[in-house]
Amino acid sequence: MKFETKAPTDIDYEKEGTMIGLEFHQQVLAPYGDDDLNEKHGGKLFCACPAYLRDDEAHFTLKRRFRAMAGETGDVDITAQFEKMKQGTTIYEAFHDTTCLVELDEEPISPINENAMFRALAMAKKLFKLELVDEILVSRKTIIDGSNTSGFQRTALIAYEGKNSYIDVNGKKIGIYQANLEEDSAKNMGKEGAIKKYRLDRLGIPLIEIATKPDMRTPEEGLATAMRIGELLRTTGFVRRGQGTIRQDLNVSIKKGTRIEIKGVSDLDLVQLYIRNECIRQIRMLEFLKILETRKITSTMIKKMKGKDVSKLFKNCDAKFIKSALKKKHKVIGTIVPEFKGLIGYELQPDYRVGTEFSEIAKVTAGAGGILHSDELPKFGITQEEVDSVRAQLKAGENDGFVLIIGPKEVGMRTVEGLKMAISLWLESDGLIPEVRSPRADGTTGYLRPLPGKARMYPETDAKPISISKYINKIEKLEFEMPEDRIKRYISKMKLSEELAIQLSVHPQNTFFEELVAKNKVDANIVANTLMSTVINLRRANIPVDRITNKDYHQIFSAIGKGVISKDSIDKLLTAIANSDKKTSVNKLIKSLGLEMMNEEDVRETISKVVDENASFLERGMGAMGPLMGKCMKVLSGKADGKLISKLLKEEIQSRLK
């Protein structure tokens, strides 16, 4: 069978029968307790810890090992079994003050965060017109990749499809069929050797998951839907904002293919590319399976694959990476892949070969850094001679391909097992296998694990069923302003620029913004600029702005509203608060920094002094205004309004010139 090694870069989505669905996950902003951190960042779903994501060094770490346990139907879940192969140890990074025994899987959960529940229910009902369940039942969803300390994620279905459950995306109805409230997982912090590392600050933050029907037909529609859902959620002020607060799973299928889940896409810019590449992959994979069939490759042949230590053949190899690996007592493990010669370079996605898929399988099943394969060698400093000797040692037939894994021996051996399992699954199943794939930075997707079946859900016994009847009235009364309407109001009533209005309309702090303006009788533009630009600039300058509490903001704007300080002092004051011991009040800081504005008489006196000291400028007549204004600002900046200084200076010069 003839085939093209290169994958196409575009396809006819309609012809292929493309269907796309989204599972949109957004962190919910919902304080559990009333401490400052909870008020500012929101809380977690099942404990009183704040949803406080941190960059500082962990206070302590724990090491855990996971096991596959029998699922609800008695069989060990296929995903769990797959994970078991990895025999992973996991390290958790934790904090004494912002994580507790619940995140550490050392204490049963506290009662559910009622704020989070109310907010999620309200969003499900009001934004997506879903039907709410009457009784919320929390389930445990088995996940033993280490991202949850318990080995499961707590999740509850809170709303399901009703008659009008859809959103309008550029004139097209996109159906919404379900909303869940669940815990976020721990943050992946990479690996320490073969050991996975996670950070517990993110574990347990409430997430609302909105699942659409597979109503999108093109990558463009996929992106537009994702953006609209995000916009709708953000307009409520009920969700957290910032990097990592949104993740979505893309479900992509073509007619002849199968449902593939691309898990955890956080970069909207790549959504279209992931959808395109997945459609291409399904087409290419189907062709690839046909090729395997014509070559008469069977799973029995694949299951005979065996890892062999071929390190000796590389004793005198010039390739640096091999030299340094052998020095570390790592091994070169090789295996033939029967009848695969010339197929490992076959592209499944643009610039993503079967060999790349092998690498991804090696990574997820054995923690291997990567593989080398027969279709790319000799290369990287490995000679034809060495290739030949590997072929000989592995007893490779003329049409056999081979794979080399460089690393600790057991990693190499496990990689071979992983490859065997994956390839034989391809051959044993009729068509494509439903699987979970991970988004790669270049817009392609890599193998992650088989798509888990139903077996992995069972009741969370530490939570009681929750009747939602007491929230119904409150939810019915709630009206969310649509993003479009909010923008209009910000422009017309609050006199914000269009750009600022658009930005703020979908900002999770917009309710806080409005509260600051209303309570402190201060110009909306000052508040908007502070939240949308000053604070962000300070953060970029490594000022720990997260330490500034909502109460601090109120005090700052109250001082501005009352004319105690000038708006020009805001960044100085924010910096001081962020760096303070948090025991000194904002008002005291204003005094100790000398930020209080002067009254008009004192300003006039100061200006008079400045003019005295620089009397020579007066020779320029009114031309002295420019240089003298600069001198005055130096002394008076932050203590008087610029306009006032200018007016008084003008009067002073005029009076002296008389």
Binding site: G74, R140, L157
Partner: protein, 463 residues
């Protein structure tokens, strides 16, 4: 491979549904697990019926949807329920017990209940104690590479709080029989709450035991990937099979990591945290040894009783007429009178500090507990003194009140744990003559009294 279907649990079929729904289900012959469709108003829900839990709303139907989620739909008598084909058997537990290999050290596994023997009942959503020992170790295939099982038995499936001396006797008897039949060691699966009591009881009931008798359990449920009982059980089995140590012991996590288990003397161990994996601490002693994830044993105590040949002659009698009294400010002396009048044979006091009871309170307060203690001693009741500090030793000479208490005939029990003292007393009263009770209680039989207190034995708050 042997297959075995586990026992049905005895929870009521429908759980907490109201009568209307129960009778509706019954007349439609619908059982939990059956595929149903609920039509109620505009709602149309398709899924499998689940039982309602004790805390759930009796008028909500709990349904497992096709995607695995459970939801509750509140209904009244206008609901329309339709039975469909295709039920799921929610109780299907296939147990595949790996084949035993020959030539491996043989141990005996005895189940008593507890979290380690519990799993979720998928019909009710509650935790039930339904696991057979086979079910637990079927998930630990690596165990079968290292040990073989002379016998595996479920003695009972009882929670910690429901176990007492009748069960201790059964545990001790079965352990003794297995030992005398030549097993290399015994592992007992036990609830954690009272594991320390049972380990103390067996420490005395199996005097001079020649092989390891190891209690183990779990602080996390067995359904989860983070189940701590797996590592505890593997470690306990390794100790039972291979450790050169002969004692009744507790084997549980030594830290919050899954890195090592501590092996504590059965008489010196206490559950000191409600939920953490590393809840068990050795008090007033160091652990005998620890064992890491790979099974490497590290002896921590230079005074270990060694494994030896020979049988054990169990002393199983137990006198239940004993009680433990915790002293607190304001304690009423008539509490003491109650036990005396009810004919108790022995009392252990958990005194304050070095072993105090209220001895010289202001007259008008009527709180002279010492007076009541004297009455007990005068009536021939054994009274032993321990400390509610748990850590450290009682001492009768330092203060006037302890001197007087001591002189009134109360026996000060050194650094013995209050719970251990209680059990030792019940056992001593049943197995020895009255005149030797005080002597037996004051001598060390199974590590319960140590002659010296070492600096490193006390766990402090360390941050």
């Amino acid at each position: 491979m042997a297959k075995k279907k586990s026992k049905k649990t005895s929870t009521s079929l429908y759980g907490n549904y109201n009568d209307m729904l129960k009778s509706r289900f019954e007349s439609l012959k619908i059982q939990p697990g059956d595929h149903i469709v609920i039509k109620y108003g505009e709602k149309n829900i398709d899924g499998n019926l689940m039982a309602q839990t004790e805390m759930g709303d009796p008028s909500s139907i709990v349904v497992k949807l096709d995607n695995g989620y459970n939801i509750g739909i509140k209904v009244d008598e206008t609901v329309h329920i339709i039975k469909k084909a295709g039920s799921v058997d929610l109780e299907k537990f296939q147990i595949r017990v790996p084949k035993q290999k020959k030539g491996l050290p043989g141990i005996t596994l005895l189940g008593t209940g507890g979290t380690i023997a519990s799993r979720i009942d998928y019909k009710t959503g509650g935790v039930v104690m339904a696991m057979e020992p086979e079910e637990i170790f079927a998930s630990l295939p690596e165990l079968f590479e290292e040990v073989s099982f002379d016998d595996v038995k479920s003695l009972f499936t009882l929670a910690s709080e429901d176990l007492a001396s009748p069960q201790w006797k059964v545990m001790a008897k079965h352990s003794a029989d297995a030992i005398n039949d030549g097993t290399r060691g015994v592992v007992l699966l036990h609830g954690t709450d009272t594991m320390g009591y049972s380990s103390a009881a067996l420490s005395f009931m199996l005097p001079d035991v020649p092989v390891p008798v190891v209690f183990t359990g779990a602080q996390r449920s067995s359904d989860r990937g983070s189940f701590d009982g797996a590592f505890n059980l593997i470690s306990a089995a390794r100790i039972a099979a291979n450790a050169d140590i002969a004692s009744v012991m507790v084997c549980m996590h030594g830290s919050s990591n899954d890195d090592y288990c501590n092996i504590s003397r059965g008489t010196k161990v206490r559950k000191m945290h409600t939920t953490r994996r590393d809840a068990f601490l050795t008090i007033n002693d160091t652990p005998m040894m620890n064992i890491d994830y790979q099974g490497i044993m590290n002896e921590l105590n230079n005074d270990l009783p060694r494994r030896k040949k020979g049988n054990v002659d169990p002393k199983l009698e137990y006198d239940e007429k004993v009680a433990l009294i915790k002293i607190y400010p304001g304690i009423a002396p008539d509490l003491m009178d109650y036990y005396i009048d009810k004919g108790y044979h022995g009392l252990i006091i958990e005194g304050t500090g070095l072993g105090h009871v209220p001895s010289f309170p202001p007259k008008e307060d009527n709180r002279d507990f010492l007076h009541a203690v004297k009455r007990a001693v005068d009536e021939g009741i054994f009274v032993g003194m321990t400390s509610q500090c748990l850590n450290g030793r009682v001492h009768p000479y330092v203060y006037r009140s302890t001197r007087i208490t001591y002189q009134s005939g109360v026996i000060y029990l050194e650094d013995m744990l209050p719970e251990t003292a209680l059990i030792k007393l019940g056992w001593t009263l049943a197995n020895y003559e009255d005149k030797s009770v005080a002597k037996i209680m004051s001598s060390n039989l199974a590590g319960e009294i140590s002659s010296r207190s070492y600096y490193q034995e006390y766990m402090r708050n360390e941050i």
